[in-house]
């Protein structure tokens, strides 16, 4: 089995896992289903190749929907972590590009004087430009906004309040 086969199989397995997580399947159940799908895909790959093996699955979203009835009481931790991580990475990238744009502006204004400032759209950010003898140095602090974006997206997708709601609904009533 080639690396490409393994990557194809793993991509299908992770996509299946993503949809299972969104439907609220418990972690242990998801692990069992992942292992079974991986094993079947490996057998199919040995027989017809990884491309045909994966395409035979069709939509992994549909598969997950047929296997696990949606449980609206469970948080979606994995999906939340993945979406939050992606949002954080994008926000940091945008902040770094804004920092570079700021440094360009500082150099255009006066390349021989040090400058300090921040980007108005990035609260808490700090930019510093300093000319050196043989070049310049730029330091950038992206502030708290990218982290806040990541956390907000994580919370919106993972819906952790479902765990709290489930806990409070299982607490037995006090005896009088």
């Amino acid at each position: 089995m080639t690396v490409r086969d393994r990557v194809r199989i793993e991509r299908a397995v992770q996509s299946y896992d993503w949809w299972l997580d969104l439907r609220g399947a418990p972690r242990r159940r998801r692990r069992e289903l992942r292992t079974e799908l991986r094993s079947n895909l490996r057998d199919a790959t040995a027989h017809v190749g990884s491309r045909a093996a994966v395409s035979g699955l069709g939509s992994t979203r549909q598969m997950a929907a047929e296997v696990v009835p949606e449980d609206p009481t469970r948080p979606r931790w994995t999906a939340g972590l993945q979406a939050g991580g992606a949002a954080l990475a994008i926000a940091v990238l945008v902040a770094l590009l804004a920092g570079l744009a700021w440094a360009d502006g500082a150099m255009s204004a006066d390349a021989n004087s040090p400058a300090r400032g921040s980007v108005a759209l990035l609260p808490g950010s700090s930019m510093e430009y300093e000319p050196l003898g043989d070049g310049f140095s730029v330091s950038t602090g992206v502030g708290w906004l990218p982290l806040a974006v990541g956390v907000l997206v994580f919370v919106a997708v993972a819906r952790p309040w479902r765990a709290l709601r489930a806990q409070t609904s299982t607490v037995p009533p006090l005896r009088q």
Partner: protein, 107 residues
Amino acid sequence: MLKGVLPLVLLRLVADAEDYGYAVVLRLHELGLAELTEGTVYPALTRLEARGLMSSRLVPSSSGPARKYYAITPAGSEELARGAAAWESLAATVHAALSRTAARSDR
């Protein structure tokens, strides 16, 4: 229509011989049911297990992760007998209806 009788066919296959997901797909294809893909068969096996009509066990495989073999349970055998009888009755009724319709159109 095929999807509707898939659980019955799967129970029959697994009653004949304990098997794992991909091998069941191959057996279905050998029977001429090539349009049943893995994406339909795997969830159907999982649902039958969840309903207690099949049981499963992991068997180590030399080619990779352990394979999950499905076997029919006593409840599955009862369901198979009930389903097979219902199917045969339905098939006979539909066959009779279609034959009558065909005979009328020949006149």
